[in-house]
């Protein structure tokens, strides 16, 4: 018996509309799948809100009597924190080990037989998940922020659409990172090491623990252009609070776009390398 290519080439070039239909069907099923966990969503919102209060008060103390720190005023800090707590669940930095689990158990074989490339189908599922999360997890903290605190509302009309685009790109970038971390299971079986490293770096370097503007300027710039982490939270939030003038805002989203494209390409490359060496166990 000859060798069998695990991934069938998707029929993208022959029929683009069909590709889009498949893609949006997977997005929809991802949305519905996560919409069933409503209790978990409520518990998550409560937790995000507690951390919202904590971080807001701590950053406010850092701003001190001047009420200004690293280019943020009090209202901007409030928006940064509350939108940030919501975004955390939308980009879903933590807790995704589905791919690694499927690689370890061998269930990945079923994914490889499907006519859709695994990177594409997992991305579509993740976009569906993010869609539900932006309703169930992003809106509530933003509303709490609006109710309890004096938050910064964007002043330029272009900011909101730009923010939406920036969040979408953040989800893609985060998915790319998580896919790569999970894909190390093709080589390592146990992904705990890479996962721990990812969890640590993503929290701090994405701007969750403190806005990266609190760091020295050269360090912030190195992180922003040299690593994908600020693209996860810091950049969308900076876009939302209009920390920079409009052209710079667009430039930041451009940085995200670059990371999104690069990471997706890298995911496909890693997937191809993995398939070449992979042996699925079992009969």
């Amino acid at each position: 018996m000859g060798s069998v290519t695990a991934t069938v080439a998707p029929p993208t070039d022959s029929n683009v509309t069909r590709w889009f239909r498949t893609f949006s069907a997977i997005v929809g099923s991802g949305f519905r799948r996560h919409a069933t966990y409503r209790q978990a969503a409520v518990a998550g919102v409560v937790t995000n809100s507690v951390f919202g209060f904590l971080r807001y008060y701590i950053f406010l103390a850092a701003a001190g009597a001047a009420g200004q720190v690293a280019g943020y005023d009090r209202t901007q800090l409030a928006t940064f924190v509350w939108a940030g707590q919501g975004l955390l669940a939308v980009v879903a930095i933590w807790g995704w080990t589905e791919l690694a689990d499927r690689i370890r158990t061998g269930e990945i074989a079923a994914d490889l037989l499907r006519p859709v490339h695994p990177v594409t189908s997992y991305l579509a599922t993740d976009l569906g998940r993010a869609g539900f999360a932006s309703l169930s997890r992003l809106l509530p903290p933003v509303l709490i922020g609006l109710l309890f605190f004096d938050v910064y509302l964007p002043r330029r009309w272009a900011t909101l659409p730009l923010f939406a685009l920036s969040v979408l790109l953040a989800v893609v970038v985060c998915f790319g990172c998580r896919y790569l971390v999970n894909a190390t299971a093709y080589w390592l079986q146990d992904v705990r090491g890479p996962l721990i490293l990812w969890t640590l770096c993503s929290g701090v370097l994405a701007g969750l623990y403190f806005p990266l503007g609190f760091l020295p300027g050269w360090l912030e710039a190195t992180l922003r252009y040299g690593t994908p982490f600020p693209s996860l939270l810091q950049i969308p939030l900076d876009v939302l609070v209009e920390r920079d003038p409009a052209p710079m805002q667009v430039g930041l989203v451009g940085v995200q776009l670059g990371w999104a494209v690069a990471l997706l390409a890298l995911c496909r490359l890693v997937q191809r390398l993995a398939e070449r060496r992979m042996v699925v166990q079992g009969g």
Binding site: Q39, F51, F53, G193, L197
Partner: protein, 270 residues
């Protein structure tokens, strides 16, 4: 007497099996040790970064704040090492493993804790202790016998307090299976809350966490007593010495909550 020795032996067997199984994969274990210390390191780094943009936080200098951070990091990491595993209770309840625990002739709580004692978290507790010792040494504390005693007792009381918080929040899963993240808001939220002087927080949020749940006695009030500072919020100085009492009350509440919770427990499986 003989029966008691048997029980101790059973627990020791559980612990020994745990230690051997975790150390069997040596590389993984080392990675875990290093990874776990990272989280606590970043908590301290966050404080340093904040002091990079401001000279004082809520009226406290970096050195004073570090005493609070050290106390909180050490206590949380140690409690997490000893009792933190209980946060897996929701999964045990959901998968029905808790039934197996209940039918064994040993108490449920110690079994749960020993069944999966995360030895990898030792690194965190050690790091937390190092921060605490360095902070105490560099804060310019005027040592008296009383303060020296408090410097030893208060962290231990805080460990008991966090342990009680872990157990109490975990019992929520007896009533609400999907509550995992809810417990995080009090356990990890409590850790973050106690890492800063409570003067930075405001309004009812501070009142709820500091005195409603008692987190002010973990690090803030003992640190004030050690530093010899008056409370900017106006509580008398002896409050700093009340930490052990608060920890005992918390432990009593946790015991009660656990007993009531177990009695309420109904298996999810069929």
């Amino acid at each position: 007497m003989g029966e008691q020795r048997q029980v101790v032996q059973a627990y020791r067997a559980l612990l020994g099996a745990q230690a051997r199984s975790q150390a069997a994969y040596r590389t993984s274990f080392v990675v875990d040790l290093v990874g776990n210390v990272g989280a606590t390191v970043f908590d301290v780094v966050t404080v340093l970064v904040l002091f990079g943009v401001t000279r004082e936080l809520g009226g406290f200098t970096l050195r004073e704040t570090l005493v609070i951070v050290g106390q909180s990091s050490f206590a949380f990491a140690t409690a997490d090492l000893l009792v933190g595993n209980i946060e897996r209770l929701p999964r045990y309840v959901r998968t029905g493993l808790f039934d197996a625990v209940l039918v064994r002739p040993l108490a449920a709580l110690p079994q749960l804790l020993l069944m999966d004692l995360p030895l990898r978290k030792v690194s965190r507790a050690v790091f937390g202790l190092a921060v605490l010792v360095v902070a105490l040494a560099s804060a310019g504390i005027q040592w008296t016998p009383g303060r020296a005693a408090l410097a030893v007792v208060a962290p231990l009381a805080a460990v008991v307090f966090f342990g009680a918080v872990f157990v109490t929040t975990a019992t929520v899963s007896f009533y609400w299976v999907d509550s995992g993240e809810l417990a995080n808001s009090v356990t990890y939220g409590g850790r973050d809350f106690t890492s800063y002087p409570i003067t930075v927080y405001g309004g009812w949020f501070r009142a709820l966490f500091a005195y409603g749940m008692g987190f002010a006695f973990v690090s803030y009030h003992p640190a004030l007593a050690l530093l010899g500072r008056a409370d900017p919020l106006g509580l008398p100085a002896w409050v700093g010495w009340a930490a052990p009492g608060v920890a005992l009350v918390a432990a009593a509440i946790a015991t009660l909550a656990w007993r009531v919770g177990i009695r309420h427990y109904r298996s999810t499986g069929s």
